[in-house]
Subunit: 344 residues, 2 copies
């Protein structure tokens, strides 16, 4: 399987997710501005994946300047600011930048190749740790699922949204390996169609047969008993357990509750933002209108149509059955269980 | 405004809703088979509209044969069967065919021009009565809305779904006239995009500014207070008040309940099917996979993707605040209030 993002001889390479599934085309980012553009324009997306990409972007940026000392520090600050300004909601982006910044601060005095190599190692460590976290999340999450699991997932919280394996799709993959997975439904996830374009594609590559549904069909399949669990990823989880994730997640959480189904959130510890008290404090990105008025480059709504396009929503913690992290499974009350996962 | 469907000198003319909003193209059906194909392939859709189209199709069919007596009766039966076989869920189709059949039976002995003219008059009466019903539904529904109404509607329950004015959009139009309408949100309604393509188009033609949202964004806008009522149409309402309507309706009903918002169903009496005890007895049409794997003719999901595409869902009556018909507003318990609307 094509890696979501990779370091190749001083270039950050990623599969261009805007072109999937029609085309498996690689995007080569040769400086940190190109990495920032790739994140902003969603060539790469998914909270953990954009954290990894930002870290690699910083490693790339700092290798492309010969500046040292105060000049280097100023350039570094600009690089961090450029990458931080790409997208506002997923906290993994800021978490990864902050981790890189700490490494920079620790080694800035040494400068030179020592600093550059350490920052690249740090970025690659972030990537490796995310992959390992997803595999562990998959194991822990799969244990939670019912024996004959018929899972609905939303958006793409898969290998393409992470360093690999996926969070929600990590749970699906592990459940398939355990022989517990009877069905997996992916809703198409308008406006960007991550479900139709990415989740179907990556599960089909793994030989896991998923069924695509329109976003509006989830409640009908819950009522008919065809879905018995919901598993989603997250872009940011507040201290009280409120979960920001792709627009449409909140509706699925309500529908799950109404049908008595468990609603699981699968995310690495880097998605936890315990400095943010509740979902009300999480910034929700509003994306361009053309994502809704057009599909695959074709206009579907009339010219001049007014649009609201919030890219994320907040699921209040009372709808969340459990949050599955690589360090364990947090259950309500999350204000108590989440800090235990973050503590060293 | 272009009429949804019209009789013009022995031709059933309709605006081809598959091509809206890009093209306002008229489809001319020259026999009842062409009318049946137009319904089946959704050139015309919307429960009341396909009832009117079927009635006009029967009037057309019976004018195109010179048969009389037993031969005519056999041909008539075939015509009715052809039109009844087009789509299974909306009861207005069967209601209109049944009404035409009663007229046929009453006048079959006379045959000739008397029968043909009477059947055309009956079809045109169905059309006129539906338009009047929608206007009355609009008045009654608008009274129910909160003073600063911020309405979410689903699919297209507008002029294009009826003989004119619309059911849910009739309520929106009447609320706009009363100065009660502060906002109207239309979700795009995948897979067929009736909201994006039809509802936006027809409201913009009337100078009513609607805001388009992805299907997944409704819950977020309810939580933020931007929506304070939901108004939808219906394809069939069972005796207990269960409502079959476009896939996605059931989810909106649950979300409305969860946010304490009223959920109104606007439909003419012809949508009531008191012979069907509950929603479990309503047949739900499953439509072709390509509606979900493609958008506007372009493939969005991978080749070979498995799909479920139920076109309708059933909203249990406990989620319905009121059902607005032209003869009055039914409130729970619907098993008592609905029969009172149907009784002569």
């Amino acid at each position: 399987m094509v890696p979501t993002v990779a370091w190749e001889n001083g270039v950050v390479v990623m599969i261009d997710q805007r072109r999937l599934p029609a085309e498996e085309s690689l995007l080569r980012c040769r400086d940190h501005h190109e990495v920032a553009a790739a994140i902003r324009e969603m060539a790469i997306r998914g909270a953990p994946a954009i954290g990894v990409a930002a870290a690699l972007g910083l490693a790339l940026g700092v290798r492309q300047t010969r500046s040292e000392a105060a000049t280097l520090r100023a350039e570094w600050s600009d690089m961090c600011a450029t990458l931080a300004a790409t997208r506002p909601t997923a906290v993994n982006l800021f978490w990864a930048i902050e981790r890189m910044r700490r490494r920079f601060d620790a080694l800035a005095a040494q400068g030179g190749a020592v600093l550059r190599d350490a920052l690249l190692s740090e970025a690659l460590a972030i990537q490796q740790e995310d992959l390992a976290a997803c595999q562990r999340i998959g194991e822990l999450g799969a244990e939670l699922l019912p024996a004959e699991a018929r899972v609905l997932t939303h958006c793409n919280a898969g290998a393409l949204a992470t360093a690999g394996y996926g969070t929600a799709l990590g749970v699906v993959r592990s459940a398939a390996r355990l022989g517990k997975l009877r069905a997996v439904f992916a809703d198409e996830t308008r406006p960007w169609l991550q479900g139709a374009r990415l989740t179907l594609w990556e599960l089909m590559q793994d030989g896991i047969e998923a069924t695509l549904i329109a976003d509006g069909a989830a409640a009908h399949l819950m009522a008919s008993g065809e879905i018995n669990a919901v598993v989603v990823g997250a872009d940011r989880i507040a201290a009280n357990g409120d979960v920001a994730n792709k627009i449409g997640t909140y509706a699925l959480a309500i529908l799950a509750k109404e049908h008595g189904l468990p609603f699981y959130v699968a995310a690495p510890v880097s998605t936890l933002d315990l400095h943010t008290p509740s979902g009300a404090d999480i910034p929700i990105e509003e994306r361009p209108a053309h994502e809704v008025t057009h599909v695959a480059g074709r206009r579907t709504a009339p010219e001049g149509a007014r649009v609201r396009n919030p890219a994320f929503d907040v699921t209040p913690h009372r709808y969340v059955t459990a949050i599955v992290c690589e360090r364990g499974v947090a259950r309500p009350p999350f204000a108590e269980s989440l800090p235990r996962l973050v503590a060293p």
